[in-house]
């Protein structure tokens, strides 16, 4: 087995040992899903049955898929590389025969696969029953949706990786992380769908990579976006993926030169 597949499999197994954590995630995402469902339905109802292109059914689909992919596409709370810079363990990572960014990327894929199967699927099944919402029937929706989720996952990883790289320049990264958390939570469409934003806020969101890692995958898989528009959305995701790839390669290159190894 190639080392890449081994990394994916190892991380998949590691994640699957935390059964109670998975159950806790399903429970908490479920409760928040029920709260969010009420919050969004009230907005649709208050706007006269349709808000930002959402009716009651599509609003529930947004909540359902949004909660289901949250484990797979976590937006904050990953400081593993920054922590390893602080302890000096990063020296071991950089001495590996595999590039730092690639190494963590494959681990992230393994993590995401487990999170989707162990956490996302149960939420989808339970949520569909509780909220009584009919899923889209067109198989093409799911094809586009899966591609969108894979791209979203990659974009999300690159953003989080870039945030961790800040630790190559300064050890005090907590403040940057908080600011990132605020930005990504709002602009990704996690708190409220970006389609409900007033124009000026929508413009800011669209100028960031954040909708491409959460809102767009949900738009695709819930069947909100169809036809030729699908290629448009996937194209935007690809552009952000390319930009972030270049950016993180440059940051990794220069960061490794700046890095000071702590400890001994």
């Amino acid at each position: 087995m190639s080392p890449y597949l081994q990394l994916i499999a190892a991380e998949f197994r590691r994640q699957s040992t935390y059964r109670l954590a998975l159950a806790a995630g399903i429970f908490t995402n479920g409760v928040f899903g029920l709260i969010r469902a009420g919050v969004l339905l009230a907005a649709v109802e208050g706007a006269g049955g349709e808000a930002g292109g959402y009716d009651a059914r599509s609003a529930l689909l947004y909540v359902l898929w949004g909660q289901a992919i949250l484990g797979m596409i976590p937006m904050w709370g990953w400081n593993e590389i920054a922590d390893r810079v602080r302890t000096g363990e990063i020296a071991v990572d950089l001495a590996r025969p595999m590039d730092l960014q690639t190494y963590w990327w494959f681990r992230d894929i393994g993590r995401a696969a487990m999170q989707f199967l162990g956490r996302g699927l149960p939420i989808l099944v339970l949520g569909s029953i509780v909220l009584q919402v009919a899923p889209p029937t067109d198989p093409l929706v799911y094809l586009a949706g899966v591609i969108g989720m894979v791209l979203g996952l990659a974009i999300n990883y690159l953003c989080r990786y870039a945030m961790n790289l800040i630790s190559f320049w300064t050890l005090e990264t907590q403040g940057y992380q908080i600011l990132y958390m605020v930005g990504v939570s709002l602009l990704s469409g996690f708190y409220v769908p970006v389609h409900l934003f007033p124009d000026w806020l929508l413009a800011i969101a669209q100028a960031s990579p954040f909708p491409a890692l959460y809102q767009y995958p949900i738009d695709l898989i819930s069947g909100r976006v169809t036809g030729a528009e699908v290629f448009n959305v996937l194209g935007i995701q690809l552009v952000w993926l390319a930009i972030l790839l270049v950016l993180t390669r440059v940051l990794t290159h220069f960061g490794a030169r700046r890095l000071v190894i702590q400890g001994g």
Partner: protein
């Protein structure tokens, strides 16, 4: 005499914690700004929802802002004092809890002063700003009783949200590796508390009123001072019983916390 000496320890401990944070000034300020922005973020959600639906759950933007502000103040104070309870799982895992248990001081105060996060004050400040702005635009009856209801909502909100941190802490003794469970009622409760209870689905409305009582921390008192009747499950007169809800949630939290500490057998260390 011993009592006196023990009591005088706390100001010293808290002062030391605050000084140690001030030593890393840039980090402290960035964190404080971050906490402030978290408040702004939560308000942004309300702003977006209300720009899509100008009447939301029977309330206008200033009225929802008032709910948000009062709940933010209650939660903000609770987070400032009891927020450190969130670190209990890592205290247990690192065996640090034993070192607390060996000291001749009560456990909860030791926990909450172990890292008194002054930056959380920024969250309170944001709530206060929102309150000042909201009351300019809201049609509140300004009588002694209505002022009392609003002040009371912050005081009892502080009590109720604090009890949730303690309740979550108590649950952690059973939940090692499952810490996220408690987020459902601590942060879920805060989320529900900051919004009009009228928008919630029925099971959520019932749970976050009669089990984890966070709709009484702001929404019901605001209905009362706006002289609105409320709706199913949430009539506004329930707001008069806010102290009873606070007693109930502390009772629940204390029972679970005590049982948890008794169950605790150490994690090595």
């Amino acid at each position: 005499m011993v009592e006196d000496r023990v009591l005088s320890v706390w100001p010293t401990i808290i002062a030391a914690r605050i000084r140690s944070q001030w030593a890393y000034r840039v980090s402290f300020l960035l964190n404080a700004v971050g906490s402030f922005f978290t408040g702004l973020l939560e308000f942004a959600e309300i702003f977006v929802l209300l720009s899509a639906s100008p009447v939301y759950g029977g309330m206008t933007l200033p009225e929802v802002t008032l709910v948000f502000a009062l709940a933010s103040l209650g939660f903000g104070f609770a987070d400032l004092v009891f927020g450190q309870m969130d670190s209990l799982p890592s205290f247990i895992r690192q065996g640090q809890l034993e070192s607390f248990l060996t000291k001749p001081l009560p456990l909860v105060p030791q926990m909450i002063t172990s890292s008194f996060q002054l930056r959380r004050l920024a969250r309170v400040i944001f709530g206060a700003v929102a309150l000042v702005v909201a009351v300019q635009f809201v049609d509140v009856v300004w009588e002694p009783w209505s002022v009392l209801v609003m002040v009371g909502s912050v005081v009892f909100g502080f009590a109720i949200y604090s009890s949730l941190f303690v309740l979550a802490g108590g649950c952690q003794f059973w939940l090692i590796n499952g810490t996220e469970f408690t987020n459902a009622f601590v942060y879920g409760g805060k989320y529900v508390g900051q919004l009009p209870g009228s928008v919630m689905l029925a099971p959520i409305r019932v749970f976050f009123t009669f089990v984890v009582p966070t709709t009484v921390t702001a929404y019901l008192p605001v209905l009362l001072v706006l002289q609105r009747p409320g709706q199913e499950v949430l009539p506004s007169w329930l707001a008069w019983f806010t102290p009873v809800f606070a007693i109930w949630s502390w009772l629940l939290a204390t029972l679970v916390w005590r049982a948890g500490v008794r169950k605790y057998t150490g994690a090595g260390g």
